[in-house]
Each structure stands twice: as C-alpha cells, then as structure tokens.
Symmetry: C2
Subunit: 493 residues, 2 copies
C-alpha cells in the first residue's frame, strides 16, 4: 500500500522536518500542534527544505504534497495511513496522545514516534494495537539527513518494521533497524558521549567551543561523513585490520584519558561559559543563515559522495534513479512522442553550481544541456546504456552554439531537438534551449558520429538504431530548416 | 625561514603520512625507521598520497620533495630544520630518541611529536633545549585531513608555537593551538568517548559494527564534516540559540543514557565479536581499496565544501590560491608573453569528474576549457575581477567546437588562443585545446561581446582594455588563419 496521507502530531523542529520530508515527496500531511506559533515556525523549515531540494536533485520530483493544519488530533489522524508523533519527551504526555490517536485513527495506521530516548516497549505499553508502534528516530535536518533509526518494542510485529523500512527508503532515507531496545538507541548514545566530553573540555578551559568545533570539522568529522567508527579504525589497523587495531588500542581503554566519565554539573556558570563562547563563534550568523549554510553543505557533501558512488551518495543516487524512472514512466504514460515535430528532449531547473561570476548559467553548461539533449535523443532511437555497454556509441564531432539570452539559477529550462540529417554513421542534430516560459536561450547544432568503443573509430550503428534514426530524420526533413542552422561563427544570416 | 628539509623519525602510518604531506609540498625528508619493512610500507602511503593529490587540486604544485632513507637518527636529523617524532607511545622510548636527536641536530630545529596522548611538558622534561618542543598531533590520513593539534608544554616558547602554525598552514593544514595541556588533547578525548560507547553497543548486542557505522555516516557524520558539536547544537536551539539548547538538554545530562561510562573489559571474546563483524562489513575490500575509497571521498568532500566556501573547503581554497599565485609568479618570472604568437592561456590535468560514461572527457568540459581560456585571455587584456566588479564583462555570443581527439582522466592539457579580430564591442577568439604532448584535441571559435552588467546589453569596453585587445589583435592579424576557423557544422574545409 502506497502511503499518500500522513499525520504529524507535534510540529517542532523534528516534526516540521518530517512534514518537509513528506511533502517534498508528494505526500499530503495533516499537522496538529497546539502551540500558537507552530505554523510560522514550521513554515521556516518548509522554506528551507524547498530551497535545499531544488539543489539536491535535478530529477523531477512528484508534485509537492499539501499541508493541512488541523485543530485536533482527531482531525489530523482520522484519514492518515501513517502517524508521526513528535511531542515532548515525557512518557505521560506520549501515552495521552496515543490514547487520543487510537480513539480516532484506523487501527492499522502505523504510529511512529520520533522520540530520541524512550524505549518503544514503554511507549506501546498502553496501546490497544501495540503491534503497529515503532520508534523512527530521525536527525536534524530531517529533510536532508538520510538516517532514521527504526526500533520496535516487544509487541511490535515484523510487518510494521518492514513497512517502515520500505516507506522511509521511498523517501530517500536510509532506515537502520536497531534490533535490540536500549534507551537513546545508538546515535544519541554516541552523541551524548561526545557532548559530555565536550562539556568537560570547555569547562576545564582546555579549548573553546570554536576550537573544539574546528578540531571536529577539519578532522574526524570529514572521515565520519563517509566511513563510520569501525571501518575508519579498520583502515588504521593496516593490512592486519581490526584485530591489529584492537591489539594496539584495546589495552589503552583503561588509560587515564578514557576515564573522564563523570558528568559536569549543569549550572548557570556552565551555561554562560558555553553560550558566551558559542556567541563569539557563530553569533555573526543568524539562525536561518546557519541553517542554510548547513543545508548547502549537506547537499554538496551528498552530491560529492554520489559522484564517488559511496555511502550517503548511493542513497541519493537510488532516490534519484527512482525519480528519473518515475518521470520517464510518467512521460510515457502521458504522451507518446510525435515524431513529425521537434522533440522535447530534456527539462530541468538551473542548479546553483551552474552559475558563474556573471550571475548567469555558465557557457559550459549550455553545452552540457545540449549534450544531455543528444543523450536523450540517442536513448529514444535505442542508443541506451545497454547498447553502449555492448560497444557502440555516438561521439560529438562538432558543435555550434549561439548564446541568445541569459538564464539564472533555479529557472526552469527545456530542450527541443530537430534532426537535420541522419544516415549511416552520421547524425546531425539541431537543439534549442528554452526558458520554461518558451523564451529561446540558445541553439546548439551538433554533428555526431557513431563509433565503436573498442576501436574508438567511426562505425555503423545497429540496424535498429538506423531504422529509428532514419524514420525520424525523414519526418523532420519536412520541417523548415531552423533559424541559425548551417552558420559559421560571426556569419550573418 | 622557509623549511626545506624535515627529518621524520618513525615511519609508521602517521610518520609516513607526514612524509607524504611534506614531499607533496616540495619539502625534502630524511627518514629514519629501524623496522625492516618500513620502506615498503611507507611507499604504499606515498603512492596513495600521489594519487590523492592529483585529484585534490588542479593548481600546479611545487616539484615533489625527495625522500632519503637514513641509517641512524644522526643521519636523519643533522641537516634538518624541523624534526617530526612518530615513535611508539612510550615516554622512555621518546626520551631516548630525543637524546639522540639533541646530540646531532641544530639546537634551533623544532622537535614536533606526533603523540596522540602524552603531554608536551612530560616529553620536554629532559631536553637541553625544551623551548623548541611541541606536540603536533595529526590525523590519518595525514596528507589529506587538514587538522593538526598544536600543543606546547610549560617550557615551550611562543615563537615555537607561531613557527608551527605558520609552517603547517603553508602545507594546506589547519593548525589548532590547544592552549592548555591535557592527556590525549581534544580530538582523541572525543574519539575515545565515541569508541568506548561503540564498544558497549557492540558488546551488548544492540547493533553490529556495520549498522553503527551506517548510523554515523548516513547521519551525524555528514553534519560533523562541516560544523562541529557546538555550532550544530546552536542550530538545534533555534532562534534562541545555545542557551535554549542547553536549557532543553542540559538537565538530561544526568539521564540514564548518559551514565553508561564504565569501560568494557578488553578480552578475546570482545576482540572476536568486533573483528568478526568488521570482517563481515568490510572484508570484501582489501586495505588499499578502503584507503583509496576513503581518500577519494575526503577529496570530494573538501572540494564540495570549497564550492560552498566553508570549513575545510576554505582551507583547500587558501592552499590552492597560494599555489596558483606561486605558479603565476613563476610564469611571470620565467617568461613574458610573446604577443606576436598564439598565447598559452591555460594548463591543467583532466579531473576525474570530467569524464563520462564513454570514459573520456565529457563534451561540456571542452567548452569549459575554452571558457576558461577566454577568461584567461580577458584577464590578460585587463578584464579581471576588479573590472568585472566595476560593471563590465564579456559574454560569449557564439561558439563553434570541433572535437578532434579524445582525452582521458588525469591527462595534462593546455589551451592556446589566437585573436581573429578585436575591435569595439566584439572579440573573436580561436582557441585550440592540446594534450600535454602537443596533440590537438579540439578547436573552439568564439564570438564574445562586451556588455554592461547593469543593462545586460552590449557596451564599449574600457579604453585600457580596448588598447590591449587591439594591440594583440593587430599582431595576430599577421598570423595565418587557423585551420577550421570560419566554418559551419558539417562544412568541409
């Protein structure tokens, strides 16, 4: 069953982050949060998410889901297939909210608690249908960080866990099933350990908050973005791996520096020390600026890892592939290509990193658009990934671009393609690049040559491709020659 | 005083990482390590570093420093200005090595210990010249992670600290001065806290090493690559910042999940549990593969942060700027431009992310090369960043590219530029792209128009630019018209 409507009870930073993750994936959300400023605070998170998703992927996403602000738990949950609880971390409050939910929700709607500490067995202890409760613990910003800890209680059934893993994966997340309950689960155990140690280091005057943060982000933080604790140390162990590392460092577990395990006293002095240093460190950014810097960095890091086919980048790549497939399917369903006219080959928005110091799309990206259009046309005639893997492809031999208008970041753009001629080894294409409003931005005239990837020299394409290419070329031959075709640089029409 | 010769005493993973960092920055290194396999193990690290630096920056780096393997401490240190000690973590061993160093080294050579735990005051207690000892604690891989903790002892003088900060910065590193001594300093306190907690989580069967690692690298690890502990939580505190965060989470310092502070017993059972899980998780990669995956990711993450002008990316950008400046200065010293001939405008190597599914440089990158060549030529005639900031620039109106040959990853390439005509608002350039061996890869013919960035329409360039452009255009008019100029797509010569 595909989830189309989710209820979010509690709309703080985490609840709002869930709402953003859902609606960016085309899911409608009913929100209930009794706080007077809940709606305006949530809108700030949704705005950030919109901005981040525009950069995260070029794939066409489903139409954004709707947010309905409700006046009661009943109103929020009655039509929901999935219910996210993100209310304050007190068991009595959560039990009261669950009673309200069970009074009005479908009995098979999953209840997913965002708690960062309370064990699911305690959460589900008073439920009529405890088998459908899980903890799904996400991390801020929920709309960008892939991980979600999925934890069941003693009464949670396997089917609920499986549904959760499948649902969160479909949202571009990486669900990790924590199979044994423990208070605070896994990530927050680790984060608490760092936090406790960090407080001591500040309190004892060893370092400032800024120095400590720099030691993290210029050092092991870079490692942790791509490999975790054990894989990192496995490498440190060299050829002999983890056993060698443990032999080397296991004994020092009892050394003095691992014994700093009291908790510092939480008092005004500690608060002022830390908050004062934090102001000195980050106070020149307002919180929205910091959030956007963070989001831009998280997007860029995940894209960098995608290029390396690793870790969080693989999750992003899988997510995009699903989006691309869905987009391709949708195009196929909605319309078949009219080969008698110029063909819509690509559409996207201008990514932020495509613009240059002149604040418009860099000239090289025009050619990228036309290259992508050529690729799309190649796929249409059968020169797809499988064909290329079999040893044939088209290489561009020659290109003529006319830059007619500028286009800025995040603007919608599309390409159209006309076949000037297509026969034998040659394919002569004329692309036009348009703003979403139809305005002509550039034209790209291209001569492509079919090559054998083995010999790297010109060769005949497969008979299937040749049939498809010539069929379209014959129809396009009846179209007027496009304006600007066949011209040299600087040549007047 | 510029450091040209360093001694490295101890050549394990950390010592070898230092050697790599030094020689990639043009510094000669004398190494002493008595282990029989020290040289072959070090070579593996140096190979990795070579590979990573080829990807890290396109800037021209200084000629690689030489490594000399020495037969004694004396031989290694006698001519060194900087001495790195990376011997086993036992104070008696370190004291003995220091005595040997002081017997043979210049008295003002800095002694920098790579210790990850011992306090510098203890290290320097028996030195004749204790004022020159520091701890400079780096992180694996030393050649790629920017951070180095710089710690002085009670007898260390300020000048030594300042020299260290300056030296490590020149190597593309981010030195953080830890101003108060503590065993294990800062990063390893935090890492020990995570490690201790991780061991419990595995031992208690809450999670496996792979699940724990995934929870890190798909979650908070992505955050820590760009913001540290305190800045991250400042954001979590929302508008009210760190004070609000502390008010919310300070009290829970005494909650049960922060109390798991014993150390697990180090025994065979624990070793087998962890090493077995680690084998299941990562055993399908050999250690070299893992190191290279890690290095590629660290490079990509730092480049991603560079594009966002943040954190470790800023360190990389500073480092590259110094390299580019040094390269430009060197070019300026070596030769002045001969304006009567075609002009060498750019040179670089093909970055890994410039290649596509056909395993050669993607067509869009050809235009990027030509765009960069146009930019370089613009700077030569005075259309530089200052001029653009004042409101004028050249936009490309038209482009004709002939793709003549393929080029693969990491290959050296350069561009040459000939002015076809240059007068008034128009600049007609003809670039050629060559492999480092001279082979012609492509030609790019471009019509650029000078524009006012305010009106976004054509305008006259400044008189200075016009003078420079016409002077070169007049000289280039005497050159033969380049092959392929003035042609339309598909037009025979």
């Amino acid at each position: 069953m595909s989830i189309t409507t989710v209820a979010c009870v509690g709309g703080g930073v985490i609840g709002a982050g869930w709402v953003a993750r859902f609606i960016e994936n085309g899911i409608d959300v009913n929100v209930y949060d009794p706080a007077a400023d809940a709606q305006s605070k949530m809108q700030a998170v949704l705005d950030n998410a919109d901005r981040a998703y525009a950069k995260l992927t070029m794939a066409q996403r489903p139409n954004k889901g709707a947010v309905v602000y409700c006046n009661s738990v009943e109103e929020a949950v009655k039509a929901a297939q999935w219910i996210v609880e993100s209310v304050p971390e007190r068991l009595d409050i959560k039990h009261a909210v669950y009673a309200d939910i069970e009074a009005h929700a479908a009995s098979d709607a999953v209840i997913a608690s965002s708690t960062s500490g309370i064990m699911p067995s305690d959460l589900q202890s008073q439920l009529k249908h405890p088998e459908r409760l899980i903890v799904a613990h996400p991390f801020n910003p929920v709309y960008l960080l892939p991980v979600v800890e999925v934890v069941g209680g003693t009464k949670t059934i396997v089917d609920t866990i499986e549904r959760a893993k499948s649902f969160y994966s479909s949202l571009g997340m990486k669900p990790i099933h924590v199979k044994k309950e423990i208070e605070a689960f896994v990530a927050d155990r680790l984060l608490e350990a760092i936090w406790r140690e960090s407080l001591w280091l500040i309190k004892d005057g060893i370092t400032t908050t800024e120095e400590l943060d720099d030691i993290v982000r210029f050092g092991f933080g870079l490692r942790y973005a791509q490999m975790g604790v054990f894989e990192t140390y496995r490498i440190a162990g060299g050829e002999a791996g983890m056993r060698h590392f443990l032999a080397q460092f296991g004994p020092c577990l009892t050394w003095p520096w691992t014994k700093l395990m009291d908790v510092p006293e939480y008092n005004d002095e500690l608060v002022e020390l830390i908050a004062g240093q934090s102001d000195a460190q980050s106070g020149h950014y307002d919180i929205r600026e910091l959030e956007r810097i963070r989001d831009d960095n998280l997007v860029a890091i995940q894209q960098a890892l995608k290029a390396n086919e690793w870790g969080a980048g693989l999750v992003l790549a899988d997510y995009e592939k699903k989006l691309f497939d869905a987009g391709a399917k949708q195009s196929g369903d909605d319309q078949s290509i009219d080969e008698s006219q110029v063909i819509r080959t690509t559409q996207r928005r201008v990514p932020p990193d495509w613009t240059d110091y002149n604040n418009h799309m860099n000239e090289a990206r025009y050619l990228q658009c036309f290259g992508d259009a050529s690729d799309a046309f190649m796929r249409m005639i059968g020169c797809d990934a499988d064909y290329i893997a079999s040893g044939g492809s088209y290489f561009t031999a020659e290109t003529h671009i006319r830059h007619l208008d500028e286009v800025g970041v995040n603007q919608p753009i599309y390409t159209q393609t006309q076949v000037i001629s297509g026969a034998g080894k040659k394919m002569h294409l004329f692309h036009s690049l348009h703003h979403g409003d139809g305005r002509l931005l550039a034209t790209g005239e291209h001569m492509l040559i079919h090559v054998s990837l083995e010999t790297r020299s010109a060769s005949e394409p497969s008979p299937d491709i040749l049939v498809n290419l010539t069929r379209i070329a014959d129809q396009h031959a009846k179209l007027p020659m496009p304006d600007g075709a066949g011209r040299a640089v600087g040549q007047k029409r």
